[in-house]
């Protein structure tokens, strides 16, 4: 406990200061406090020093301090650090993964910020993960299941009539009927695009739709809707290009987030602007510059970790 390291006079001064701030200090308390101050030469010194240090610590408190400092988001890792100190190094990694703070578990497929990666699975299927993506594999005797936890994947399925391959998302699943297709998680939905052959998609409510080459569907928890075939190129991010035909700018910004550190925000007005073009995912700074030159938007970076796009 921190108190144990304090000189007795300081520990007492702290109790007095805490009482002063309580809002229920009585006259009798005040008399006792004045008595305490005179009791030893150490007491007034400790009292002054305490007030001075607390004042110093909070001299230039910015607005929002209360909100930020007591935010559970920043304390989570502090608690974790305490736990790790006890648990030791070996257990640390496991524990972090269990709490979801580390992006990946061993044996799964994963990519980090701004990193696309191709994997070959045991059955010969080839998976490319988009940036900031995570997939758990569950290959059993007669099924091949990929669980998309985060981000997006593109898969070239190795044909195996005995073992169907299924990509599972929180918003439904896509079953390959020998084929190449992509699945991308978004907020509250998953997009599926088929590049070759056919895929059967199924929403959690049981609704199924068969998609052919060039077709796409969006899965939500209670429905399957067809996507506009003109947008099929959106499913082909595998080579690092995002091709957009007459879509809201928000779609481009959403795709860039997995490639850019920090917050990338866009105002609703700017997000609604229509845009067409081919964008290089690996160079988000260039994309943002291009957008600024060709659209009535302003891209600002008030801090290294914060990019804001708004209408000019």
């Amino acid at each position: 406990m921190a108190h144990n390291r304090l000189p007795p006079a300081v520990a007492e001064a702290i109790e007095w200061l805490a009482l002063h701030r309580s809002g229920c200090m009585t006259d009798a308390d005040r008399k006792r406090f004045e008595h305490w101050l005179r009791l030893s030469a150490d007491h007034p010194i400790a009292w002054q020093r305490l007030e001075q240090r607390v004042g110093q610590a909070f001299a230039d408190v910015p607005p929002l301090a209360h909100h930020v400092l007591s935010s559970p988001a920043i304390s989570r890792r502090g608690l974790l650090r305490g736990a790790l100190a006890v648990a030791g190094i070996g257990v640390g990694g496991w524990w972090l993964q269990r709490t979801g703070l580390l992006p990946f578990a061993q044996g799964d497929l994963h990519t980090g910020l701004a990193e696309r990666h191709a994997f070959t699975l045991d059955d010969g299927s080839r998976v490319v993960l988009n940036a900031k993506s995570r997939v758990d594999l569950a290959f059993a005797g007669n099924t091949r299941t990929l669980i998309l936890r985060e981000g997006g994947l593109s898969i070239q399925v190795a044909a195996d009539p005995q073992r169907p391959l299924i990509v599972v998302t929180p918003f439904g699943e896509a079953q390959a009927l020998g084929t190449r297709f992509t699945v991308t998680l978004r907020e509250g939905a998953a997009d599926v695009w088929v590049q070759e052959s056919r895929v059967q998609v199924k929403a959690p409510n049981g609704a199924t739709v068969q998609l052919r080459s060039g077709e796409g569907a969006v899965l939500t928890s209670n429905a399957v809707h067809a996507l506009d075939p003109n947008r099929a190129a959106e499913g082909r991010w595998e080579d690092g290009y995002l091709e957009i035909h007459d879509q809201p700018l928000g779609v481009v910004i959403d795709a860039l987030r997995a490639y850019r550190r920090g917050l990338l925000r866009i105002s609703p007005e700017a997000a609604a602007l229509r845009v067409s073009g081919v964008f290089l995912l690996d160079d988000s700074a260039h994309v943002l510059r291009t957008l600024q030159e060709t659209l009535p938007v302003r891209v600002e970076q008030p801090l290294p970790l914060w990019t804001q796009v708004s209408l000019r």
């Binding site: 607005p63 502090g78 990193e115 917050l263």
Partner: protein, 174 residues
């Protein structure tokens, strides 16, 4: 033939030890960090910073378990970096939710984050609830009864939190 001064000998030995340590363990550390961070740039930064801290140790020859030491230092760095990012993010999110009238300049924002990071370090060890209780007292001068009512805890509990926070402030500025 003049003998090499002891200090030079020690320095040479030290460099040799550090050199060997780097050669033996850098790739291993980088790999571990990559697996944990999922980002190769972060991992490379952290690995370099870890060795930079080892170089500053007074007596690297005495290190018995280099990998345990490297892991400990790297882990501390990773946490510090994450925490800093979380704090920046929390500040920016809070800022984004603010009424439109309040728009600090970039300079003010950087200063605000610096100050918040130092307060965050000072209050390390206090739970979000404890921090909130103390900050209501420190920044808004609420009584413990008022704070308790807001946070759903008793006034004596608020008193304990405030006392603990005051102790942390005192110790931090020693």
């Amino acid at each position: 033939m003049p003998s090499i001064p002891l200090d030079d000998q020690r320095l040479a030995l030290r460099n040799c030890v550090l050199h060997q340590m780097f050669g033996d363990h850098h790739d291993w550390l980088l790999q571990r960090l990559r697996a944990r961070l999922g980002c190769c740039h972060d991992a490379a930064d952290m690995a370099s910073e870890t060795f930079a801290q080892v170089v500053q140790l007074p007596d690297p020859q005495a290190i018995q378990e280099p990998r345990a030491l490297l892991t400990t230092i790297a882990k501390r760095l990773v946490f510090a970096t994450w925490r800093r990012r979380d704090l920046e993010r929390a500040y920016l999110e809070a800022l984004a939710q603010q009424i439109p009238g309040y728009e600090p300049s970039a300079q003010e924002q950087v200063q605000a984050i610096e100050t918040l990071a130092s307060l965050d370090r000072i209050l390390d060890g206090l739970s979000p609830l404890g921090r909130s209780a103390f900050l209501y007292s420190q920044l808004e001068n609420l009584t413990y009864a008022e704070i308790g009512a807001r946070l759903g805890i008793s006034a004596p509990r608020v008193h304990q939190y405030v006392a603990k926070a005051l102790a942390l402030c005192y110790l931090a500025l020693e």
